[in-house]
Symmetry: C2
Subunit: 146 residues, 2 copies
DNA sequence: CTCTTATTGACACATAGTCCCATTTCCACA
DNA sequence: TGTGGAAATGGGACTATGTGTCAATAAGAG
């Protein structure tokens, strides 16, 4: 699966919303695709685009997160990263050891929420879940080196 | 149940860790207990303690979070709050409408994690979960006003 | 080609911290 | 009781991640 959706698709979605497809917006998308990692910080984008105003970069990041082109990932140390969104409801598995981020869907938190409503009367509208641990690759790597 | 544990218990835990029980640390605890709400921001503490250095306030907050005296709560808007921890693994139910925060334990995310490990090979070490929605009190309030 | 509106860039300001370093405070031990 | 070392503090600079304002610019519609 591609790291990120085609530019054309994003452009289409901008147009559908009646938003303009401008050079700075395309630059941010390009800069986000440029990194070696599939995740990036606001600062990464800033440093790759010295010619684009800082405010514009943040505005664009915010817009693209709203449009579900990017998603935010909360790292264990409290830092925030951006990432191409796989679109729709999903969560992240963040590897402590290599830092890789995987998505996961099939989130049964819904069941949990229903349970919760029964027990406490609290109705969940949404939730934020990040999982920290060790990915399969780092497991085998550890197994080999020992 | 009390909003927060006795000061003596916290003092004890500081001593157990070989840390000093200093005036600034006690001030932060007092300031945290002073607010009307059971939650507070770093800024709340700062403004209640103009005589204590900012660096000290942040150091102390961090220390008390590590000691599980306070916990951090991630609000829906991305802002962070501090809160007396009920100690041990728990999550938060944050009411959109009145802003109240309830704790909940009996978190069956564990089951989810085991499932995850089977499916993806990812072993979870920990997770962060915040739930947003509407509390029981706000439900009944809404029912009455309609 | 021009009008309108979206968008941008610059800059100031805000929040939530961290880092460094000189000074102070505390505690233990002589 | 005095003192030396370690822990803790306060001040200030610095960082990261934003937001708000406002005048200038650019895009698309007609």
């Amino acid at each position: 699966m591609a790291k990120h959706p085609s530019l054309a698709a994003v452009v289409q979605r901008l147009e559908d919303r009646g938003l303009r497809v401008t050079a700075p917006r395309l630059s941010v998308l390009a800069a986000a695709a440029a990194g070696a990692e599939d995740q990036f910080s606001a600062e990464d984008i800033e440093s790759r685009l010295p010619q684009v105003g800082r405010a514009t970069i943040f505005r664009t990041l915010k817009l693209l997160v709203e449009m579900d082109v990017f998603c935010r990932v909360l790292l264990d140390d409290g830092n925030l990263r951006y990432r191409w969104s796989r679109r729709g409801h999903h969560h992240h598995l963040i590897c402590d050891s290599c830092g890789a981020i995987e998505d996961f869907t099939g989130c049964d938190v819904t069941t949990l929420m229903q349970d919760l409503a029964r027990r406490t009367g609290f109705t969940a509208r949404g939730h934020w879940l990040e999982v920290y641990g060790r990915c399969a690759a780092c497991h085998s790597r550890a197994a080999v080196s020992q």
